[in-house]
């Protein structure tokens, strides 16, 4: 605790008020960037990228599916690391970020699963196959739901934060183990036909819009995370004088 006192920037970074005020300024720009990236990526990917030789137009769903999966997986690590930072340095803001990251990540995982199923029907002839990636995504969804559900086991949110952070860390250790074991299991049981080629072998005309979409999804993730965290800050800090002042200002405006 005494050590942290010297790191004033670190403490400022951990202040919910500082975060709230900074994001107020960042959000419009970041939202604009997100919107332009997503629109560019979608239009480019759906209208201008060439058709796939085998799959025809149905492959275009990857412009939603792949970014959602990538950010959903990264989101779990973001959540777990935010929790770990909270546990180690006891920063409230970090717990708030962790709490906000869980539903966003779960939603993205869900989108990835649904788009994967829709894509699977024309490609493999079935909505669901027990492919390594799909199975891992399903388990990831359960890991997210577990973190979200565990909160309600505690009546004190300090304890709930710590418990979620511990579970997040346990999950983080497990995600690679789960992925590897599911991968190994899948090679044991499934014929190799389902394996699809990796992204780098894609034609640049197809690949570039995908990159734009992935960056766009990351930006979208950042925007939603900020919005969720801001709401969380107001919910938890409602006793703080700056929040009370903010509320009275809003009331005067009306």
């Amino acid at each position: 605790m005494n050590l942290n006192m010297q790191w004033t920037w670190f403490h400022r970074l951990g202040s919910p008020r500082w975060f709230y005020q900074k994001t107020q300024r960042w959000l419009p720009w970041l939202s604009l960037l997100t919107l332009s990236l997503l629109i560019t990526g979608i239009v480019w990917g759906l209208a201008f990228a060439p058709e796939d030789a085998k799959q025809g137009n149905s492959f275009r769903i990857i412009y939603v599916h792949v970014p959602a999966s990538v950010v959903a997986l990264a989101g779990y690590y973001i959540m777990a690391i935010a929790g770990a930072v909270g546990l180690i340095w006891r920063i409230k803001l970090s717990y708030m970020l962790m709490r906000s990251a869980a539903p966003i990540g779960a939603a993205l995982t869900f989108i990835a699963l649904v788009t994967g199923a829709i894509w699977g029907k024309p490609t493999w002839g079935a909505y669901w196959v027990w492919d390594a990636r799909i199975t891992s995504m399903l388990i990831l969804l359960f890991l997210y739901l577990g973190v979200m559900a565990l909160r309600h086991a505690y009546s004190s949110h300090e304890a709930a934060d710590k418990a979620s952070a511990i579970l997040g860390l346990v999950g983080m250790v497990n995600v690679p183990i789960i992925y590897k074991s599911v991968d190994w299991w899948q090679t044991l049981h499934q014929p190799a036909t389902i394996k699809f080629t990796g992204a780098p072998s894609m034609h640049p005309d197809m690949f570039l819009p995908l990159v734009v979409m992935i960056v766009g999804f990351y930006a979208f993730y950042a925007v939603t995370l900020m919005l969720f965290t801001r709401a969380e800050i107001l919910r938890r800090e409602y006793r703080a004088s700056w929040v009370k002042q903010l509320v009275s200002e809003k009331l005067v405006e009306k």
Binding site: A159, K162, I178
Partner: protein
């Protein structure tokens, strides 16, 4: 120092074993559950030896997972209710040893009997005799991992001992054990080398012994704050 380390382990191991012996019904319940659900399989699928033998590796492992999940819930809850958890957490020594002692006792009372009972299931499901040894080895090691992971979930869900919540937390983490556990039996049935998946189970056990007590320790300390 060495004495301090082992003392906590042995003290909690022997006490929990003694408590288990005194409450025999609690011990027997998961085992009866294990046998009962197994008896449902032939009834719901088909009593044909071939089909049963095909399903056996997976089925045996699913039942083992369910039986450990049922029992692990009570690992810390009795201690929380009667106040002995507070006394354990107050110990000046490393808490890891009492925790490992309790989990070992739990394994001796749940995992080991399941392992010893499993040949019965092997007979019921017409499992080839070559697969019996790998099955027992995989169950013995695998249930130990399940106990350790399950204890993490039990510690974190202590304030609200919700069976469903515990299952939600723990089941995804059980996947690797389930995969390599049933793969050990399957490989033996198929006449392949079954030591490879078994060795991975041992590796998982090593990781679980190293990391789970840390998470359990942190989780138990939150229970009082719930």
């Amino acid at each position: 120092m060495h004495n301090y380390l082992s003392a906590g382990f042995i003290a909690y191991l022997t006490r929990d074993l003694l408590l288990g012996v005194r409450n025999k019904t609690d011990l027997v319940k998961p085992l009866i559950f294990f046998l009962l659900v197994s008896a449902l399989v032939p009834l719901s699928i088909a009593p044909e030896a071939e089909r049963l033998a095909q399903l056996a590796p997976g089925m045996i492992w699913i039942f083992a997972v369910l039986a450990t999940l049922l029992s692990v819930e009570r690992l810390f809850s009795d201690d929380l209710q009667d106040g002995s958890l507070e006394q354990m957490l107050m110990s000046p020594n490393l808490l890891i040893m009492p925790i490992l002692g309790k989990i070992t006792a739990h394994w001796v009372m749940i995992g080991l009997p399941l392992t010893l009972l499993s040949p019965v299931l092997g007979v019921w499901f017409s499992l080839p005799t070559v697969a019996v040894t790998p099955m027992m080895l995989s169950l013995a090691i695998g249930t130990a991992v399940l106990c350790l992971i399950g204890a993490v979930g039990a510690a974190l869900t202590l304030p609200r001992q919700g069976g469903v919540l515990l299952a939600l937390l723990v089941m995804p983490l059980y996947m690797p054990v389930l995969i390599f556990g049933s793969a050990t039996i399957q490989s033996a049935v198929d006449g392949l080398d079954w030591t490879a998946p078994l060795v991975i189970l041992v590796a998982l056990l090593a990781i679980a012994i190293a990391l789970c007590p840390l998470a359990i320790n942190a989780g138990l300390r939150l229970a009082k704050n719930g």
